[in-house]
């Protein structure tokens, strides 16, 4: 799989031989997220996408097909060529086959500036931090949710 650059949009395309719709999920949050067929690469690392077909009354669900690609930091060089991929098809027990056909991306121009990161700790309530990367125009929010959990107090008395 070719590499992509942080912030570069990637479009997924897949079809099932059953004709049923195919859905995508990211297994590597927060490197990449998926909305419909659009992938947003938010951080450097390995992005793994799983394509699934949930089946119907006539067709059994197809086993998910995973494809991974590397997401490089913005400073890394990448060509802007259209990438076509063919993924292995996985046959489900009742014949629902799934083929991931293409993965298209548009890369950041080579002259893209180095990202500037700005941390805004006071952007919201306690435990919420926003980090804005001006290079990719991506803002990450980190939210912390503390929970006191369970608490048990016991006493053990020495009895004569």
């Amino acid at each position: 799989m070719p590499c992509h650059t942080v912030g570069a949009p990637v479009t997924l395309s897949a079809s099932a031989t059953s004709g049923l719709p195919v859905s995508f999920t990211s297994g590597t949050l927060p490197v990449c997220t998926v909305s419909g067929s659009a992938v947003t690469t938010a951080a450097a690392g390995t992005c793994t996408i799983t394509a699934s077909q949930g089946g119907s009354a006539r067709y059994a669900p197809a086993r998910g097909v995973q494809q991974s690609f590397q997401v490089n930091p913005v400073a890394s060089k990448a060509s802007g060529a259209l990438v076509t991929l063919l993924a292995a098809a996985v046959l489900a027990a009742a014949g629902g086959a799934l083929v991931v056909r293409r993965l298209r991306r548009r890369s950041r121009p080579p002259s893209a500036p180095e990202p500037i990161v700005r941390v805004v700790p006071d952007a919201g309530p306690p435990g919420l931090v926003s980090v804005h990367d001006t290079g990719t125009a991506v803002t990450h929010t980190v939210r912390i949710e503390p929970s006191p959990g369970t608490s048990i107090t016991t006493i053990e008395e020495a009895r004569p």
């Binding site: 297994g27 590597t28 949050l29 927060p30 490197v31 997220t33 938010a42 951080a43 450097a44 690392g45 390995t46 990202p115 990161v117 941390v119 700790p121 435990g127 931090v129 980090v131 990367d133 990450h140 929010t141 980190v142 939210r143 912390i144 949710e145 503390p146 929970s147 006191p148 959990g149 369970t150 608490s151 048990i152 107090t153 016991t154 006493i155 053990e156 008395e157 020495a158 009895r159 004569p160």
Partner: protein, 207 residues
Amino acid sequence: MTPAVQDRPHTALDLLLGPGLETPEDLARQILSASAGVNLGRALENLPKATREAAVREVTTAAAGLLNVDLIGVLVAGWRKHQDLTAAARRTLAAPGSIELVDLAAHQVTATQHPSVTVLVDGHQVATLQLGLSVVFAVSALLAGISAGRLAALRSGRCDITATLAIQTNLLYQDPCVLMAPSRERQGPLGQKALLWSRSEINLKSM
């Protein structure tokens, strides 16, 4: 020489800190150097550096806050279940103006808490840091003065505290591995002055 009251631990965090670990940041560094911290680092490794650092900072601050457990409050919660103390509290409530001295035999109050810190990045839950805090009070030869249902005085006796901290990190979007960090255990006395300094009278009735 008797240490000053201020030197006594007032919270579980105070007890877990100490020589070599003097600030919550020191504890955070130890948490992160343990296997649970490595695991947390894995959950965050793909984030930009500034985001990762902000996440770690917020997690450790939240974890330190959860360990800020009032030791006196924990001990009193145990004493509210002590038969001799609660019986004396009831009797002194029934007889206004009466005072009872209760000679407490050796007993042990144990408090276990399991707080957690969940990390969400861009709305997605990426990891949960689970803490296991155990505080054990070993109390011996303590004389308690009870009046009007309240603990009004403590004399002699000894109270040793042991705090144990266990940490594990559950990763939600990577390999589902769970690692236990080494427990951190420290022992120390809880001064009686600290007890009375914190609360002049302690209500022994169930709250």
